[in-house]
Symmetry: C2
Subunit: 378 residues, 2 copies
DNA sequence: GGAGAAGCTGGAAACGTTTACAGCCACGGC
DNA sequence: GCCGTGGCTGTAAACGTTTCCAGCTTCTCC
């Protein structure tokens, strides 16, 4: 009667092997038994194709062997890089990965943290865009270990975190542009009320300051983190400042723009396209630098200089921290904060204006503007 | 004593409210009770911040409310598009999404199908690259509903499937190229022993045949589905056939190539880059067409013409089919096969060679070759 | 006022596993 | 020959929930 429909259970095997369910469990978990018993149980299990019910196991053991990763949109290559690493680490340790796109809805992020209480997964890696007081409260009372990828207000929440240093990253990028002769460096930023947005702006200004350049608010665009917005922003910039190149409508009006620093690669790709469509050459007329060093840097032409903020590594570290936390006996070790150092990856899009760009042999059009408008014009 | 540490359970609430755990469960699931009972239970639950344990619920109910999606590599935008749709549908119906990258290891794919028996999820969406007899066997004996995204050998396995029609898709692309005046149409394909690889090749040949063009084996490259391989392949092609443009080393040797059809967008991006780096203009000298219509089409310049094989839609349909199957009472409805029709999305990269490309105003270099080498040269 | 119905309630079983505990057997040492 | 020991084994409890069933109260209707 136990052997009626439905998948085989320990009981099915116990009957078949003529032993108790306890022995079945012991044999199957390698807890030792008489050779004869082992033989019979293993044979019976193989015959019926037994697979232990993971749910029952989780209920008994209090572990689901599942991890949750929540980010705003899997469409963003940065998150893809993280997912990949997290999945790799998780799989290696026998954990499954639960994915959660929050679509940047703060309410949804909170729901994810709170839902830890339902014991669906053993821990959470959260990549929040904005941190509200509710977030902190939710994190403080989280029912399971959480690792945050991003910056938390000073040890206000007792959770581990991995952060990128995007202030330094942005600074690196802008100083690189300055070092290669650029002076009118525009900045296309993401939303100003997000942590990345704030930090990248800070880095931009810090670099300008260090370099002795004055910050021109007209050179800054604030928009969303998409390719299309990147293009639109650059069009607006050039409409305001003139092409600085072949005399677009505004060509005579201002000193132009000789570099565009974008707060991520999507924006940078959009920027490249806008520049192309106005007949401006990269990097001869305008240099472009992105951030995140995603697969997108090789998508456009020329390949984009970008700042690697260590997405993959942050994913890896977060997964490792979380698994340590889960395995940890002493639950009250203080929260750890790790920062990955950004790295500038120079590619053709930011080669100095007056040196021939080695890989970009396209656009053999005659130079139709001074290669580097400089600061002193007009 | 029950109220000792650990998260609150129905028992905690029952004690607090002075009722039985049965009443707690009934109230919490809205199964009706005396108003006074409802009030007390709800109050107690709120006070202790009770959240039902999903694992226990799954064990009792036999449903985990989890779906699994397995594909080879989340790095591929096609899969990202699918994941997005699947996650949206799943979330709307209260299901979580479990992600599984198989890294194209067939053994891993099998493991995923077999692991359905552990009751970790209620169903599987599988996106296999190659179908082996073991796959079919595993699918035939799968413990839970499976939907395959891709083509299965004639109803050999009793599972639902959603397929793209990439034969027709490839044909569309090539006929479009022919219609816009291209005659030397190269083909950069993915691995020949995969289903997509085979089908796209078939479509390519069919289109050539219909158009009365002879297939030149030297115009076909077979490689992996990556940007880098796309670039390498085009370099090989041009080394063999000459640029057909400004007299690269092989310029005088052959009729050249006036279009490259690539089996996916990654390859097409790589192709674009290779063409750029050889000083060839797109689309004036060579047209480029990709497949899948991923976000990558807007990443390069000019924007890529591509064939939308309906990745997102396939994801959506697969998720819907799976959920229907899971909810379905009668388990033995025959397997359904749905095919999404491909759609050609024309962009600048395949504009006719002799017409000015409207959006691509870059590369104002003088024409240094006949715009359309044609078939008859030299 | 009594009988029946209807609505709530609590006890207990069930989902499938792991594991604490106690019992059994055989064996060896005294 | 008896007892202690050690290795296996089976029974039963536990994980936290839902739900069947029986019993209780209360109400309605005659």
């Amino acid at each position: 009667m136990v052997t009626t429909g439905g998948p085989p259970t320990v009981e099915t095997i116990a009957e078949r092997a003529g032993v108790s369910i306890a022995s079945v469990s012991r044999v199957l978990n390698g807890h030792g038994a008489r050779p004869e018993t082992v033989r019979r149980v293993e044979r019976a299990a193989a015959e019926v194709g037994y697979v232990p019910n993971a749910v029952a196991r989780s209920l008994k053991g209090g572990r689901t062997r599942q991890l949750t990763f929540a980010m705003q949109d899997i469409g963003n290559p940065v998150y893809v890089a993280m997912v990949r690493q997290i999945q790799t680490i998780a799989k290696a340790q026998g954990y499954r990965l639960l994915l959660h796109s929050t679509d940047a809805v703060a309410e949804d992020e909170l729901a994810v943290v709170r839902s830890l209480a339902d014991r669906t997964s053993d821990g959470l890696i959260l990549c929040p865009i904005r941190i509200t007081p509710e977030h902190l409260e939710a994190l403080r009372t989280a029912a399971q270990p959480v690792v945050v990828i991003g910056s938390l207000p000073e040890d206000d929440a007792p959770v581990d975190s991995v952060r990128a240093d995007s202030v330094t990253g942005a600074e690196l990028a802008v100083r690189h542009l300055v070092a290669t002769g650029r002076r009118r460096i525009a900045f296309v930023n993401g939303p100003a009320d997000t942590v990345p947005g704030r930090n990248r702006r800070r880095g931009y200004h810090r670099a300008l300051e260090v370099s002795g350049l004055t910050a021109d608010p007209d050179l800054v665009e604030t928009t969303e983190f998409t390719v299309e917005d990147g293009a639109r922003s650059v069009h607006r910039l050039l409409d305001r400042h003139g092409d600085g190149a072949d005399g677009g409508t505004g060509g005579a009006r201002g000193p132009g723009v000789d570099a565009v620093f974008c707060a991520n690669d999507q924006l940078a790709l959009g920027a490249s396209q806008a520049l192309h469509s106005r007949g401006l050459r990269i990097p001869e007329d305008v240099a472009v630098v992105g951030m995140d060093d995603t697969v997108l840097v090789r998508a456009g032409w020329p390949p984009l200089t970008s700042v690697d903020l260590g997405s993959a590594e942050r994913g890896r570290i977060a997964a490792e921290m979380l698994l340590e936390r889960i395995a940890g006996q002493e639950p009250q070790t203080p929260p750890r904060v790790r920062t990955v150092t950004p790295e500038l990856v120079v590619r053709a899009s930011s080669a100095p204006a007056n040196s021939p760009s080695p890989t970009s042999s396209s656009s053999p059009s005659p130079a139709n503007s001074s290669p580097s408008p400089g600061e002193e014009a007009p």
